[in-house]
């Protein structure tokens, strides 16, 4: 008897039917967004000057959001081995960039360029008014890849120049 009461109070018993039905309120954040907001993955910074790091810095001035997404490229394979982000903005913007850093890991730079904002928005069930947040994340990925490729091209040019000189 006591255990049953305790279970009810604590709500810890799995598989129990809740005694009161949960009232669904309209316009809640989707649980995926809340998850990314409460447990953000890959928050942080890489060294901007690292030649294998690509930095994408984008902003949405209309709402004052700013998003930084960084990718770490493996020199040999050219694949993205690590990613991190820092976003100042609404929950949807934070979640979008968090999702983006998860999705780019282990992929090649060409592959991540195909990630569309609509996919991110769908994953997070973003309402229409927040679609631009996912767009921002897509732009951040593209900017990071662009930066990484520019750095790679620069490194290759320097190496070639060195070869010519020494050879």
């Amino acid at each position: 008897m006591l255990r049953l009461v305790a279970k009810r109070l604590l709500g810890t018993a799995s598989g129990d039917i809740p005694s009161r039905p949960l009232q669904i309120l309209p316009r809640l954040y989707h649980e995926n967004v809340i998850d990314h907001y409460n447990n953000p993955r890959n928050v942080g910074s890489f060294d901007k000057n690292d030649p294998n790091v690509g930095t994408g810095l984008v902003g949405a001035p209309a709402c004052g959001d700013v998003m930084k997404l960084q990718i770490k490229i493996d020199e040999e394979s050219g694949k993205i081995v690590d990613a991190c982000f820092k976003t100042f903005g609404c929950g949807s913007a934070i979640a979008s960039s968090s999702v983006a850093t998860e999705w780019v890991k282990g992929k090649s730079m060409d592959e991540v360029l195909t990630i569309k904002n609509t996919e991110i928005a769908k994953h997070l069930s973003l309402p229409p008014v927040k679609l631009h947040c996912s767009m921002l994340a897509e732009d951040a990925i593209k900017a990071a890849v662009k930066d990484a490729e520019a750095k790679r091209a620069k490194t290759n040019a320097t190496l070639k120049g060195a070869d010519v000189k020494s050879g």
Binding site: L57, V58, G59, A60, P61, A62, C63, G64, V66, K68, K86, F88, L131, H132, M135, L136, D139, A143
Partner: protein, 287 residues
């Protein structure tokens, strides 16, 4: 209905307290329809327009369907009162007929600057706004027309709401800047991405400083720096707008938005910090 009630405090309260300085951007999106419709009206004033009504002044639908009845008259330059047919004097914006004391329907061709009797310039005397605003509300406020016809009560609701929005929009530099560009046909409030590395790096550093600030003194320092930047950029906007360099003007607005946002974050963090301290005090103090 709730939104309306939020908007219209009783007339007495309006005169007693200072209007809250909430961000005007939110209310302004509703008015984005005004300016485009107003410029449309100016160019096609001979087209008879239907008078549609929706009794929630901030509903976008009502703003779109709301057209000046006076524009339907053959002589579109002279406005006449719907009640007594007296002609508008032309010196003051025709929101109210002084002859018979009836409130007129909203005329979207009267922009916010005209409502306050100001030239359409970015730099205005902000101090003079409050007095004029109160003068208008003494004539237009819905509390004054309880005994009048439903039509006039609706006019009062919409005119009064428009004057409130005009006051809020013109009081703050950023909202005023966005509005004046909107009147020129430039819509700044688009959800576009920018990637100006210099600006974004600066903003990133500021926001990081705000997050990492340990005490309210540090936050206040950042905030005063932001307010300085806001003023500087406001001057740059005035300059760019005067030279009709609209691209530069848009960039200034984008910067101002970022600085204002950062300033707001400072205030929030100060409040949060002091609230945390108060809670800690309460917990540690023996009650």
């Amino acid at each position: 209905m709730y939104k309306m009630m939020q908007l219209w405090t009783p007339l007495s309260t309006v005169f007693r307290r200072v209007l809250p300085t909430t961000c005007c951007l939110a209310s302004f999106t509703a008015n984005s329809q005004f300016a485009s419709l107003s410029s449309h009206l100016q160019s096609s004033s001979r087209v008879p327009l239907r008078y549609g009504l929706d009794f929630s002044p901030y509903s976008k639908i009502s703003l779109l369907s709301f057209c000046s009845q006076s524009a339907a008259k053959l002589d579109s330059t002279t406005k006449r009162c719907w009640n007594c047919l007296a002609e508008a004097t032309g010196s003051t914006p025709f929101l109210y007929c002084d002859s018979c004391r009836s409130i007129q329907p909203v005329d979207l061709s009267i922009d916010y600057f005209k409502i306050f009797g100001l030239e359409k310039k970015y730099e205005i005397e902000v101090d003079g706004l409050e007095g004029k605003y109160k003068d208008w509300q003494k004539k237009l406020h819905p509390d004054l027309v309880h005994s009048k016809s439903e039509k006039e009560r609706e006019y009062a609701a919409e005119q009064s709401a428009r004057v409130i929005d005009a006051y809020r929009t013109l009081s703050k530099p950023l909202s005023r800047a966005i509005y004046i560009l909107r009147l020129e046909g430039v819509d700044v409030d688009e959800e576009q991405t920018v990637s100006d590395p210099e600006l974004l790096t600066e903003i990133m550093e500021i926001r990081e400083a705000v997050e990492e600030a340990t005490d309210s003194q540090a936050l206040n320092q950042v905030q005063s720096r932001m307010n300085e930047k806001l003023e500087e950029t406001s001057d740059s906007f005035a300059n760019a707008f005067q030279r009709r360099n609209l691209d530069e003007a848009v960039t200034c607005i984008q910067k101002m938005t970022y600085y204002q946002r950062a300033s707001l974050c400072c205030s929030c963090n100060v409040i949060m910090g002091s609230t945390t301290l108060r809670i800690e005090e309460m917990i540690t103090t023996d009650v």
